[in-house]
Symmetry: C3
Subunit: 343 residues, 3 copies
């Protein structure tokens, strides 16, 4: 990853984590920190009053869609949206570029999710307003990778640590999980990172990503046993075994038992205060259960702090792309209503 100029956020499309160098990531995180009082409802800002987000989800995704929309509302803006693939113009043969030119006339910034790889970049090339990638098929979901790394930073910071020097175990179906791919790339811009990859042999992280990490100085170790992999790390990042990728449920079942983490395993094998993460949703059905609910009372379970951080990171990206990060506090006022989060 080249170490060139800083990313100029103002008016930029946010399409891939490949756009981000270390200083850019840190810029996003500094602004995300600044957003915390607004997300916690200690203050309200109307800095984006009158601005419109086009929240164009051409594939259903309640949580990501609402997270983007709420982040924009929290900055004072309005949201127009599409949820799922309507029998829309695309089926009448309209190109994505035409759709982009039309929809970009209706808003100041667009978030887009679309099932097809590369579709969001294609769309962005014809948009007259900045476009954020909310997930384009198996390709990219950059805000997820940023919120994961922001969570790692927050969890370590609470222990007086920084991301440099991190040891992290990534667990599960590392072949198919796009969040793990993106996070691996992002971690490569930090120093002294050690990654333990815990997966069945058939589901290991693609060679090209491992090679990139090693070239960037990351120490990568592979393991096919959960207990060995999680024994000496700061973070356990668990993911879903993606049953739908296997030829049969039976085949998927071969792997699942090995990678279940519960409180007993945690207590026996993990260092004290090892942080547990997961991109969610976690599969809580009995035959999956990759993170047992008996971990819910473990204060190191960071999975819900992770999703909360998604709002901060998305607010930060909006503030940077629309160039209002320095103005957010100028348009702040107090919250008038009952705030559940402070009680």
């Amino acid at each position: 990853m080249p170490w060139g100029d800083r990313l100029n956020f103002t008016g930029a499309h946010i399409l891939s984590i490949n756009q981000f160098q270390r200083q850019d990531v840190e810029r996003v995180f500094a602004v995300a920190d600044q957003m915390r009082p607004y997300a916690l409802r200690k203050k309200v800002t109307r800095v984006l009053e009158g601005a419109i987000l086009g929240n164009m989800f051409f594939e259903a995704s309640t949580r990501t869609r609402v997270s983007f929309g709420s982040a924009f509302n929290l900055l004072g803006g309005e949201v127009r949206e599409t949820a799922g693939f309507e029998s829309s113009a695309l089926v009448k043969g309209e190109s994505l570029q035409d759709t982009a030119r039309v929809l970009s006339g209706f808003s100041d910034v667009i978030c887009m999710r679309h099932p097809q790889e590369g579709s969001v970049a294609d769309f962005a090339s014809a948009s007259r307003v900045p476009v954020m990638n909310g997930g384009d098929g198996a390709n990219e979901h950059p805000t997820q990778a940023l919120l994961d790394l922001y969570t790692i930073r927050s969890e370590l910071e609470a222990k007086g640590r920084t991301i440099d020097g991190l040891k992290i175990a990534m667990i599960g179906d590392l072949r198919h999980g796009r969040t793990v791919h993106s996070l691996s790339k992002l971690l490569s811009v930090y120093d002294n990172i050690e990654v333990v990859l815990v997966s069945p042999r058939e589901l290991c992280l693609p060679e090209s990503i491992i090679d990139s990490m090693r070239s960037a100085g990351v120490v990568v170790r592979e393991s096919h046993e959960l207990t060995g992999g999680i024994s000496d790390v700061d973070i356990v990042y668990s993911t879903r075994i993606q049953e739908e990728r296997f030829s049969s449920k039976e085949e998927a079942d071969l792997y699942r038992g090995k990678f279940r983490l519960n409180q007993a395993i945690y207590t026996e094998f993990c260092q004290p205060n090892t942080v547990i993460m997961h991109p969610l949703p976690r599969d809580s059905r009995a035959d999956a259960n990759e993170l047992d609910i008996d971990l819910d009372s473990n204060p190191n379970l960071a999975i819900f702090r992770q999703t909360d951080n998604g709002v901060l990171v998305r607010m930060a990206l909006f503030a940077l792309v629309l160039d209002v990060a320095h103005l957010v506090d100028d348009y702040a006022c107090d919250v008038r209503w009952y705030n559940s989060r402070q009680s």
Copy 2:
């Protein structure tokens, strides 16, 4: 129903009408009265500026969803929403509690409708913000019961009466109608109530509800003829014969004819100025037609005042739960646009 402490609305989940004692109901109604100038567009308030409602309808319902959303907008807040069961995280094995923890990070209060009985309470148990039940299957729909009773109060008030002493006929499929069940419970907190239940024998109100009403001092009379039941009451509360519950359309047809109310029957059998209510939608197809459209010019037809009152009651609940009822007028200003409702 115990007569204990008042319901502390601030930050409370609104899940069931069992939470409400008489004084609580009256608190809601007093605040609903205060909301009238805003709903009638004589004034606008921005008391909830910056607040976000998560309007999570995991079952389609245009009118209830839009009613909640508009009520929140009328207080100055923003709405993020889901309309219908998207192919969402729930189908990937996520528990309702996980969904609640995630979604409650995106808003200040949540309304939820879900087809499964008990689901909203389950969801609320893990939510970090107050949750309002917008209908959980055949179980509860508390805001409907409150708006029904608020309508009864308004209609009687116009005649110098109060709810105490009310005579009401409930008509139709009393076995399956959840609105009738909830309203029956709510009426029990008032004095000298007389209820006439008009239904086919096979569709009568469940014994347990009748017993509860009688224990609370309500006089309950049963009838299987429309004309006898409606002859000496203040309110006729008609409901839909729910064809979908019968083994055949033919079986449902056996009952339908008896319970049609039209202007001729009204004139012949009802006391002058008997109020007509219905939870809507009314089935206006020829073979159903429980409330004939020839009643539309009858000023005692309260069915559209009823749905309008839904906005007032939902505004009141939001104002109470978020503890801004006393601030609404402080953030009021005049309406600048043409107001159809005053013309």
Copy 3:
């Protein structure tokens, strides 16, 4: 078309272009001009702060729905909406009039699209707030006709011309295209209009519309060849060959080749600076391709200015119907965020 009193916009339903006389059209366009700085994000207005649009699309249409919603947001108002035919009250036998009475209690103005001809007028007859027709089946889509004519006016104005004296070619499936029908009617209120109709014989404009235009003084010429039709006009208005109306794809294919416009044909046959319009979406699949993408760099391609103008025209209609056109600037302030449109 009678030449009577001016349309009183305040509180009016906007259902059909038959409501508009020349002076009414010009009133809409004058207000649309006034909206331009807001649509271009040079200014923000909160004139409709607190007002609610019920954006009721009972048929999916991302672009028209979002265009109406954004137009309302740009005036400072809130939007509640329905996107597509939910399993709603209509399927339980509720009449459109009942739906209208209910939904009109939740908003200050309603936009409605519905697949059934005449449905929006039916709905409006029972609504307590103004209703705008967003398309009722094959019948009317008045805002599309107005934005088309507004675009014609803007494009001609840039050349020092007015609509009077316009020569326009309308191309494609003129039998089925409702936009062409409506635009033809609207043009009839102007002077010295000449229309060239270019279509296959089987797809020509209905006789009744041609007769009306001729009665109003429009010169109408018919052609079945593209190249002859476009050679001496100010505007080429291309439309989609609506494959779904034919008995077979093969039959549709008979016509398609003739009506493709690309840069080579444009250069050879059109006058310099002939403006190209299209109601969108344009079908860019190889076998359709009525407007080739090699025209995208032609500055006379007005198709995206056309869709942008839709926002202006819809803002103008909202401002007129809610009687705030004279107040928009009084509630204006500066835009604080990065404005892609000015770069």
